[in-house]
């Protein structure tokens, strides 16, 4: 430690010290009762959180303490209290969001540990969940393979993206560039309302109308196909693609389009040679977000699929739908316990991580587009 400090005199210790000094100065400048109220408030909020974690009945006491201190601060030092309360709200938002991550992985850990496997002498937790293809929780030696569900999710997502991607980008182009104003006033809210139709309603229509129709048309054994789940999910992911892609297309500076039109290009030429290439990263971010929505869609899949985890054969057989990661959780959570329940959390982790990656990836792409446009202007 000493050596690092010698090389870097302005290390973390110094920074911490200066931070404390600044904090001390702030405390010195503030009136005593305000500091006291702030400390009481912070301590009781932390107490309430701790109390909730350990299921203590005294949680409510801590909450009352927090409210009282905030009330006192509000009356006497509104300026400071407002800043403190909004900061507490930010912190709780961040804490809530991190708790979600922590708890899903915490609950999934037992089965990951139990089903670990060896690769080149290294123990990989949860490896056995991916080396078999059987999901048989009721048998003597229960197997929990994630592979059938991963196949289902991949097939559904591919079909949904094939539906939502091209149609969504075309609709975004239509709304932001092509449609005359009165038409846009109809189409844009229309697409938003499409996003508003609850997934269970889509699922119910799929369950009562589409699935029987598909079984009849293709002479299937039983009901439930990845194909139609994918189409329905694609329809549900469509509004996400449209709204994000539309934002990206709108953010292309008007001057660039006008420049192109002034050179005598048609509208469509301006779109394909100027607008779309410039908005390309934003549009791909939109498609990525759409993929994320499709991966996470639950109820339509749960209701329309067979809910018996199996691998569809051949691997591209989209006419039989068994289970996706999301429908596995929704259909089995109520009746599962022990390792099986933990396996559901593993499915949750896979979903969470893949959607998180897609979301962060699309945000980075969008940021790059803003950056590029900023430079272009």
């Amino acid at each position: 430690m000493a050596t690092t400090n010698e090389r870097d005199p302005d290390g973390w210790q110094a920074r911490l010290a200066s931070r404390f000094a600044r904090m001390g100065a702030v405390v010195q400048d503030t009136e005593n009762d305000a500091v006291a109220a702030g400390v009481v408030g912070a301590v009781s909020l932390a107490g309430a959180f701790a109390g909730f974690l350990v299921t203590s009945p005294y949680t409510s006491v801590c909450i009352v303490g927090f409210l009282l201190s905030v009330g006192y601060g509000w009356v006497r030092h509104q300026e400071l209290a407002a800043k403190g309360v909004t900061m507490a709200m930010t912190v709780s938002t961040v804490v809530i969001l991190s708790l979600i991550t922590v708890f899903i992985f915490y609950e999934a850990w037992p089965i990951l540990q139990d089903r670990s496997g060896q690769v080149l002498g290294v123990t990989v937790p949860g490896l056995e969940l991916f080396t078999t293809t059987a999901w048989t929780p009721a048998e003597g030696t229960p197997r929990y393979s994630m592979l059938p569900m991963i196949q289902g999710t991949v097939l559904v997502t591919i079909i949904a993206t094939a539906v939502a991607g091209p149609l969504g980008v075309a609709a975004a182009l239509f709304i932001s560039e092509i449609a005359p104003a009165p038409v846009r006033e109809v189409v844009k809210p229309g697409v938003e309302i499409l996003a508003g139709i609850p997934s269970i309603v889509y699922g119910f229509i799929g369950f009562t109308v589409l699935s029987p129709w598909a079984s009849d048309q293709f002479d299937l054994v039983g009901q439930g196909t990845y194909l139609f789940v994918g189409i329905v999910v694609g329809l549900m992911a469509l509004p996400t693609v449209v709204s994000v892609a539309e934002d990206a297309i709108n953010s292309v500076p008007e001057s660039m389009k006008s420049g192109s039109l002034a050179l005598g290009t048609t509208d469509w030429q301006a779109m394909t040679t100027i607008t779309l290439p410039t908005a390309f990263s934003g549009v791909s971010a939109a498609v990525l977000l759409g993929v994320g929505r499709a991966i996470g869609e639950t109820m339509a899949a749960t209701v329309m699929l067979r809910n018996t985890p199996r691998v569809a054969e051949p691997l591209y057989n989209v006419f039989y739908g068994f289970e996706t990661l999301t429908s596995l959780i929704a259909a089995n959570y109520g009746s599962s316990s022990g390792l099986q329940k933990d396996a559901l959390f593993v499915a949750g982790c896979i979903l969470f991580v893949s959607v998180l990656t897609l979301s962060i990836g699309s945000q980075l792409i969008e940021e790059r587009m803003d950056h590029d446009l900023g430079r272009a202007e």
Binding site: P57, A82, L97, F174, V183, I197, T208, A330, V355
Partner: protein
């Protein structure tokens, strides 16, 4: 661009060509709708159409249109009609056509010629490559008409020559028996017709525009407009379908008149007063019971209402407060950036993951015994709503121009006063709209409720969540308890899921469960779309009122 002026002059006598091309686009539209009608069995594939067998008639149309499109290309190529085509139809068109022709080739190779998977792949690649070359290499007028016309002619001939007759069917051998698929002519033919109509219509629209920039413009606009119309049509069809199916069960034995409705007792400070509703709407006012004529969704409506109230109470203050801090107090830097990325990521996190979190974190923490509860459902949905509130509130506050803040500061007003009386009111429209749209979304959310709140498939009216009546004070901590909040209950989307689980038939005193399901779906849709309508209307209203420039 001397050529442009020249061609406008010459264009005078191209009207016949344009008229024929326009006619072909119209025919393609008719073909498209015929195909659509055949998918939903309005036009029977096994029946007749205009005196001929349906497939023969469709095949004839396809061949005629395919030949017409090829003729446009040739006529343009030979210079019979003046057009201004580019050197090539472009890579996008070439890729799409090669994909289509690859599929055709692969299917014919592997199944008709019996070459198996590898052989089919090889034939497909070959045909796809030919398709690509035929589109990309020749001049645009040939490249965009020949592959399109050939596809339509091929499908047309297949129907005309009876290779695919009305009773044709095909089951791929590579599928195991337990997962077998059979393709029937009645299923495949309409899709082939729709596909060819799209391709031929696009090529004819290009020909109508005389190829080149104008032709591409027309061809692309045709498809883009069609796409927009299709999306709106799907939306209208979905809503209309639910309304038609659900209207009868929802409005069953509704009576209006003084004193016909159920009585509600309002008890306040020891006084009690009984109100008798002037309307009796059984589907909305009854629960499930053996003793009522009409099974209703009253408990589910109450549950959804409480869920929305709870989620909004939790998420809106927290989210708006966090947005104020992030926008106004915090230094714009790494911290705000990380929070922003995290909230965006959480907004796209699947709802079932929130459900898992609620089940693992919230459900075990409510006494007396851990069970699914209304409170857990409220908090889970609140957490789902939270990122959206933060995102929209931040956007709205960032959109408030800095001049507003500066003007307020110049008057000597403190920071918090500025926020309270300038920033928040100016950002209010955006926040309100965002919250309303978000509420519409969580009101229809089902997956988290399965894991955190739902209980009971068909709940009687007496078992609804009576939250207000059940607060209890006690002397030992936690001092305030409410057993209704810590009990499982139902909600509209959950009720609909229960209908699906139950399947069809008669159960729990519900005579026709499918009709009951459609009714529930209609009520849920009405509730959610009401939120959306209000949200969108609010936004339009404020947008017309408020412009910051």
């Amino acid at each position: 661009m001397a050529g442009a002026a020249e061609s406008t002059v010459v264009r005078e006598d191209t009207s016949t060509y344009e008229a024929v091309a326009g006619l072909t686009v119209g025919l393609a539209a008719i073909l498209f709708f015929l195909g659509l009608a055949a998918t939903v069995d309005i036009v029977s594939v096994t029946g007749t159409l205009a005196g001929l067998g349906t497939l023969t008639a469709l095949g004839l149309l396809l061949v005629v249109m395919g030949l017409a499109v090829v003729a446009f290309g040739l006529a343009s190529y030979r210079g019979i009609f003046p057009t201004d085509p580019r050197a090539s139809a472009g890579l996008v068109a070439a890729t799409l056509f090669s994909g289509l022709w690859f599929l055709v080739g692969a299917l014919v190779g592997s199944e008709t010629l019996g070459l198996g998977f590898g052989g089919g792949l090889a034939v497909g690649l070959l045909v796809g490559a030919v398709g690509f070359a035929a589109t990309a290499l020749p001049r645009e007028d040939i490249g965009s008409t020949l592959p399109a016309g050939a596809l339509a002619v091929l499908f047309g001939l297949v129907f005309l020559l009876g290779v695919v007759g009305p009773e044709w069917s095909w089951s791929p051998a590579s599928f195991p028996d337990s997962q077998s698929v059979t393709f029937f002519a009645r299923t495949i033919a309409p899709f082939a017709v729709i596909l060819s109509a799209l391709v031929v219509g696009w090529a004819a629209a290009k020909a109508y525009g005389g190829f080149g920039a104008r032709g591409r413009h027309l061809g692309a606009y045709l498809l883009v407009y069609l796409n927009a119309i299709a999306i709106i049509a799907v939306l209208v069809a979905l809503v209309a379908f639910v309304v038609v199916k659900g209207f009868a069960p929802v409005t069953e034995s509704v009576t209006v008149g003084l004193g016909v409705g159920p009585a509600t007792t309002i008890a306040l400070f020891g006084f009690s007063y009984e109100v008798v509703w002037p309307v009796n709407w059984p589907f909305l006012m009854n629960g499930a019971s053996l003793f009522t004529d009409v099974t209703g969704v009253f408990p589910a409506i109450v549950g959804t209402a409480w869920l929305v109230v709870g989620a909004v109470l939790l998420a809106v203050p927290l989210g708006v407060g966090a947005a104020i801090f992030l926008t106004e107090y915090a230094e714009q830097g790494r911290f705000t950036r990380v929070v922003e990325v995290a909230t965006n990521a959480l907004w796209s996190t699947p709802s079932i993951v929130f459900g898992l979190f609620g089940a693992a974190f919230l459900v075990p923490r409510f006494t007396p015994q851990p069970q699914k509860s209304l409170l857990a459902g409220m908090i889970t949905l609140g957490f789902m709503l939270l990122p959206l509130v933060v995102i929209t509130s931040r956007e709205a506050m960032i959109a408030v121009p800095d001049e507003y803040r500066d003007a307020s500061a110049a008057l000597g007003v403190s920071k918090w006063q500025t926020i309270r009386s300038v920033v928040v009111p100016a950002a209010m429209p955006g926040v309100v709209t965002g919250v309303i749209l978000g509420v519409g979304r969580i009101a229809g959310e089902t997956a988290p409720l399965l894991l955190t709140m739902g209980g009971g498939s068909f709940v009687g009216a007496g078992q609804r969540a009576k939250v207000l009546d059940s607060f209890q004070l006690s002397l030992s901590p936690p001092f305030v308890t409410n057993p209704e909040l810590t009990q499982a209950t139902t909600a509209l989307p959950y009720q609909l899921y229960q209908v699906v689980l139950t399947g069809t038939g008669e159960t729990a005193g519900v005579t026709d469960i499918t009709a009951f399901g459609w009714g529930t779906a209609l009520v849920l849709l009405a509730v959610v779309l009401l939120f959306y309508a209000v949200g969108i209307a609010t936004r339009q209203y404020f947008r017309s009122k408020l412009t910051y420039e």
